[in-house]
């Protein structure tokens, strides 16, 4: 996935000279996860910028650059580091289009490596995506495959509205995927196309008995759970990768719930007021008569993300996902 993201940045910067990358340690080091590696040498320090250690300053100056007409892609080094920049995102990035008759949106991408599983110290493992999905004016997306990472980041950069780009750091280097290197759309005339890449869920596995709905780093776990459901219970699960957290792809969700009659939502973020609550609610509102059981949830807990000695207890495991599925199947 890291290579997919790097490829997207490279292709966007090559095709569109308004694009620049900024953040803490993104230039010389190439980012702590190396997502921006090699860009400094290729595009120079006017377009790949190491900033002071100040997230409100990073988001705020990026907004100003976007108002001027550039397309900044900023890296928040770790999930919780976005909190000092939260005000700039909520009160300004999200509202600039609304505040300027729709004519001057804050066209920035805020890349946020998020989630646990990398044995990191306190405050390097949060999943704050629901905070952003709740803010009008933002698009919030999260890829779970290298190809989607490339395509969606490219779309996010050329998209007029501000995009919160959640990167599941646990699967940054989880596996390789071959995909055509050519950009999926013409970068120089991307208008109107980008929304398609930032609003649609993906059917990661087809099936008709149970819908497993997730995003980010828990998608691979859902795939594994689906295989085990198939071999252990003969249950054919459909896995839906949300990709877009705001707006949600309601049609794909309702189709899956209607076709399967049972659904389980899985995410690593805390349960209360998480994305799972919204997904569950949408399905109940629109497909209740097609359901054989209430929608289930397998999520993180309403506690601080634990110190890493306990993190595997917190992150939804395949076994926990299976248990959640069995509960819905046996209801």
């Amino acid at each position: 996935m890291v290579e997919g993201l790097n490829l997207a940045l490279d292709q966007a910067m090559a095709a569109d000279d308004r694009v620049l990358v900024m953040g803490e340690d993104v230039a010389r080091t190439g980012g702590v996860f190396r997502v921006t590696a090699g860009l400094l040498d290729k595009y120079g320090d006017d377009r790949v910028i190491d900033t002071p250690l100040a997230e409100a300053g990073i988001v705020g100056t990026a907004i100003g650059m976007a108002v001027y007409g550039l397309l900044p892609v900023i890296e928040i080094q770790f999930d919780t580091f976005v909190y000092p920049g939260f005000e700039q995102i909520v009160v300004h990035a999200a509202r600039y289009a609304w505040r300027t008759r729709g004519e001057v949106p804050a066209s920035i991408v805020v890349r946020i490596p998020f989630g646990g599983g990398v044995r990191a110290p306190e405050l390097h493992s949060d999943s704050p995506e629901a905070l952003f999905a709740h803010v009008p004016g933002l698009k919030v997306v999260c890829p779970s495959t290298p190809e989607d990472a490339r395509d969606m980041l490219l779309a996010a950069i050329e998209h007029p509205d501000p995009v919160i780009f959640m990167e599941p750091k646990r699967i940054y280097r989880a596996g390789r995927q071959d995909f055509p290197e050519e950009p999926p759309f013409d970068i120089s005339s991307a208008d109107g196309v980008t929304t398609d890449y930032l609003s649609k869920a993906r059917i990661a596995r087809s099936g008709h008995d149970l819908a497993l709905i997730s995003y980010g780093a828990t998608v691979p776990a859902c795939m594994e759970a689906a295989e085990r459901l198939s071999s252990e219970r003969g249950v054919d699960a459909r896995v839906v990768d949300l990709r877009s957290l705001y707006p949600l792809d309601v049609d794909t969700l309702v189709d899956a719930a209607t076709a399967c009659g049972r659904a389980v939502v899985v995410h690593e973020a805390p349960r209360t007021a998480g994305l799972g609550a919204e997904v569950s609610s949408l399905i109940h509102e629109r497909a209740m008569l097609d359901l054989e059981a209430p929608v289930g949830r397998v999520t993180g807990f309403d506690v601080p993300f634990p110190q890493f000695i306990n993190e595997d207890d917190y992150i939804p495991s395949v076994d926990r996902i299976l248990a959640g599925c069995n509960k819905v199947l046996d209801w």
Partner: protein
């Protein structure tokens, strides 16, 4: 205040030498801008009292800190107002009716303007959060090899915010052509400036960011112009940002809902009022034979006429449609949830039209809200 840059004399201090760059036409244009701003402000306070605008943040007495710096800017320079400079856009071709409409509670095309077209940032309500935007704009200009600078206004209270520090720091590190224009009116609602900082002179903060800082007389538009002019020349020559502290006093209330009698001695305010910039600038311009009573009257009459027609335009606006709620939240395709929400609204009877709350108890927000200064 004797250590401040000052051109126009006051009390027993004589006039200082007028900057060579300023001719008669320039001085009159700065004064005309101050008159327009003053007339707008007084009209807005009166409209609020009559229940025709919502709560309004007045700037009575701060016209010098707005008209002076603005006149130093070129049309290509970007300016970023806080709510205290809410009407500055009208000096950059934003219709005054749009600003009135904003205070009347309108959004959309009625209450907002295109910031890129006018190079005037949106009226910033939260404190100090627009400072990084001003840095970003001028930084982008520099990265693109352009010469556009930016100027951002904020108050003394804003210097306590984290965004002030981060913006100043970025500007210093990247040497962006940014002018930080701090209007030190000594009050943040009820909090005096000595409770914002242990520093005696806010301009001294600039040193921490590796940029020059200067204090000017904030009731003197020519001093405000001069400091901004010099800072812009320096910025355009690649010298980076500057910090200007315009030392003055908040002669009015924080806003129309505020009553300063609760927290400060109004005798002190009255003492400062001797220096209020319109009367002082008028007297100066007459002293150097640039202005006379007739011309001054004409400027006020013209300003009142144009502001009156802006008020009429604002009052002729129709009640916004339900669709307005959902317009322009996104520049791209509207999310599906909006259609559903609009249908929900359309399915029930619409609530009665919302009106501003109208006059609130308390004293006039300035002693002059209902009795404008200058010839009528």
């Amino acid at each position: 205040m004797t250590d401040s840059l000052r051109i126009i004399g006051r009390d027993d201090l004589p006039d200082n030498k007028l900057p060579e760059e300023l001719g008669e036409k320039d001085l009159l244009e700065i004064f005309r801008s101050m008159v327009v701003l003053r007339v707008f402000d007084e009209r807005a306070v009166a409209l609020q009292r009559q229940g025709r605008l919502g709560t309004y943040a007045l700037y009575w007495g701060e016209e010098a800190t707005q008209a002076g710096p603005l006149y130093a800017c070129s049309e290509r320079d970007w300016i970023f107002p806080s709510y205290r400079q809410n009407a500055i856009g009208i000096l950059r071709a934003v219709p005054a009716s749009t600003i009135f409409a904003w205070w009347r509670g309108y959004g959309g095309r009625e209450g907002f303007y295109n910031v890129r077209e006018h190079r005037v940032g949106p009226i910033c309500v939260p404190i100090a959060t627009h400072l990084p935007h001003a840095v970003g704009v001028s930084w982008a200009s520099k990265l693109r090899g352009e010469r556009d600078a930016s100027l951002v206004w904020f108050g003394d209270g804003a210097t306590s915010e984290g965004d002030f520090h981060e913006a100043m720091n970025f500007a210093g590190v990247f040497k962006t052509p940014t002018i930080f224009f701090c209007v030190n009116n000594q009050w943040a609602i009820s909090t005096p400036v000595h409770k914002q900082t242990a520093l005696k002179v806010l301009a001294d903060k600039a040193a921490a960011y590796g940029m020059p800082g200067i204090r000017v007389d904030g009731f003197d538009p020519i001093a405000c112009w001069k400091a901004t002019h010099d800072a812009l020349e320096r910025a355009r020559a690649g010298g980076g940002p500057s910090f200007i502290e315009a030392y003055c006093y908040r002669l009015g209330a924080h806003g129309t809902a505020d009553d300063p009698r609760l927290y400060r001695n109004e005798a002190e305010a009255a003492n400062w009022k001797r220096l209020e910039p319109l009367a002082r600038t008028s007297a100066y311009l007459k002293r150097i034979a640039v202005l006379d009573d007739d011309l001054e009257s004409e400027l006020f009459v013209d300003a009142k006429k144009s502001i009156a027609s802006a008020v009429a335009e604002m009052e002729a606006l129709e009640h916004p449609s339900l669709e307005t709620l959902f317009d322009q939240v996104y520049a791209s395709r509207t999310p599906w949830t909006f259609e559903e929400s609009l249908r929900e609204l359309q399915s029930v009877e619409r609530p009665p039209e919302v009106k501003p709350l109208g006059a609130q108890p308390g004293p006039p927000s300035t002693g002059d809200a209902d009795a404008p200064v200058g010839p009528s």
